[in-house]
């Protein structure tokens, strides 16, 4: 569409609203789990305020609960969030030119979800104002509902608290499955990493933190080598065919 849609700050707020709604149960559950892990409301809200990364924050909670060393939690945070590197690299080709400090600010707001909304915009360029709008509404929801979750969490009925413990994993599955459809590489990547992590987990060979790190890198590297090799074989095969 050639018309100037989704360019202003308020367009961004509107486009980010679905993320804000989606963050509600996940942030609420995070606040609740943070409380049961023993974090104060300050500590829990500060994590959402300064780190702002759903998967890494949940992982930090479970690692804190099992007494994993803090430096290992930081290392894991880095490994889990290195994927944002690719997302912002992809985005940097699509955003309008702007001063670096402005880019450095909205870069903080890039998550799996805001990336998806920004990257799927029909516009040829993403305006800085639009990116700020999407990032701000999603971020606000995440921080506010973390605090709300910490406050009201314990007052939720027990059966609901139990049910909400699945929220993060359901979100992971909801993000993974659409990419798995018709893509054997994605299925392979997830399945191999899951299998390696299961083996390491049940044999107690490594702690959870290291295990996720090793399983992820091993799967990502193994599958990449597999595909580079098979692509070369295909190339060789087609070359032979052309020679014949």
């Amino acid at each position: 569409m050639g018309c100037l849609v989704n360019t202003t700050f308020s367009h961004g707020l509107k486009a980010g609203l679905s993320i804000a709604i989606g963050y509600f149960p996940v942030a609420l559950t995070f606040g609740l789990l943070a409380k049961t892990t023993g974090l104060s409301i300050m500590e829990a809200t500060a994590m959402s305020l300064f780190v702002y990364a759903g998967a890494a924050q949940y992982m930090a909670l479970s690692l804190l609960a099992t007494g994993v060393a803090p430096w290992l939690i930081v290392t894991n945070t880095f490994i889990v969030n290195i994927r944002h590197f690719l997302m912002t690299a992809a985005l940097s080709e699509k955003v309008e030119p702007a001063p670096k400090w402005k880019k450095a600010i909205y870069a903080f707001g890039i998550t799996d979800e805001t990336f998806s909304v920004l990257a799927t915009q029909q516009n040829r360029q993403i305006t800085t104002a639009f990116a700020f709008g999407v990032a701000l509404i999603a971020y606000s929801s995440w921080v506010i509902f973390t605090a709300v979750g910490h406050v009201i969490g314990a007052n939720l009925p027990q059966f609901l608290q139990q049910a909400m413990s699945v929220a993060l994993y359901a979100m992971f599955i909801g993000l993974l499955v659409p990419s798995m459809k018709g893509n054997r590489k994605v299925v392979l990547l997830a399945a191999i990493a899951a299998a390696i992590h299961c083996v390491l987990y049940y044999t107690h060979l490594l702690s959870t933190g290291w295990s996720i790190l090793v399983a992820t890198l091993a799967s990502a590297i193994f599958v990449e080598i597999l595909y580079v090799k098979s692509n070369k074989n295909v190339e060789r095969f087609t070359e032979q065919k052309e020679e014949n």
């Binding site: 679905s18 989606g22 149960p25 500590e43 994590m47 300064f50 780190v51 702002y52 992982m59 803090p70 430096w71 939690i73 290392t75 945070t77 969030n81 994927r83 944002h84 590197f85 690719l86 997302m87 912002t88 690299a89 940097s92 670096k100 880019k103 450095a104 870069a107 903080f108 979800e113 059966f159 609901l160 139990q162 049910a163 909400m164 413990s165 699945v166 994993y169 359901a170 979100m171 992971f172 599955i173 909801g174 993000l175 993974l176 659409p178 990419s179 590489k185 994605v186 990547l189 399945a191 191999i192 990493a193 899951a194 992590h197 987990y201 295990s211 992820t216 799967s219 990502a220 590297i221």
Partner: protein, 100 residues
């Protein structure tokens, strides 16, 4: 939790922000070797697999709880529901399950 917690938080904040910020500012325009960007491209899917299993099976003592949650979430995502509805639908299903 004490001051260790706040140092950890600072570390987490830096570890999260740096990968977000570098491509948009410093690496703007430069290209990575294909094998490196290939491996990086794979990481989201691999890490999701490792994060989901086996952790989802052990969210409650009752392993059936996790299995029902996993099956429900996969089914809801497979029929094409938005992430948000996958989350809400799975929570609702497990809420019903834990009531009985």
């Amino acid at each position: 939790m004490g001051s260790t917690y706040w140092w950890m938080l600072l570390g987490m904040a830096i570890a999260t922000y740096v990968p977000r910020m570098i491509p948009l500012t410093i690496l703007d325009g430069k290209e990575l070797p294909p094998i490196v960007s290939g491996v990086l491209r794979n990481i989201p899917y691999a890490v999701l697999g490792a994060l989901i299993f086996p952790a989802i099976l052990h969210i409650q003592d009752d392993i059936l709880f996790g299995i029902i949650g996993a099956v429900t979430a996969f089914a809801l995502a497979f029929i094409g529901l938005d992430v948000m509805f996958v989350v809400i639908g799975t929570i609702a299903t497990l809420a019903v399950y834990s009531l009985f």
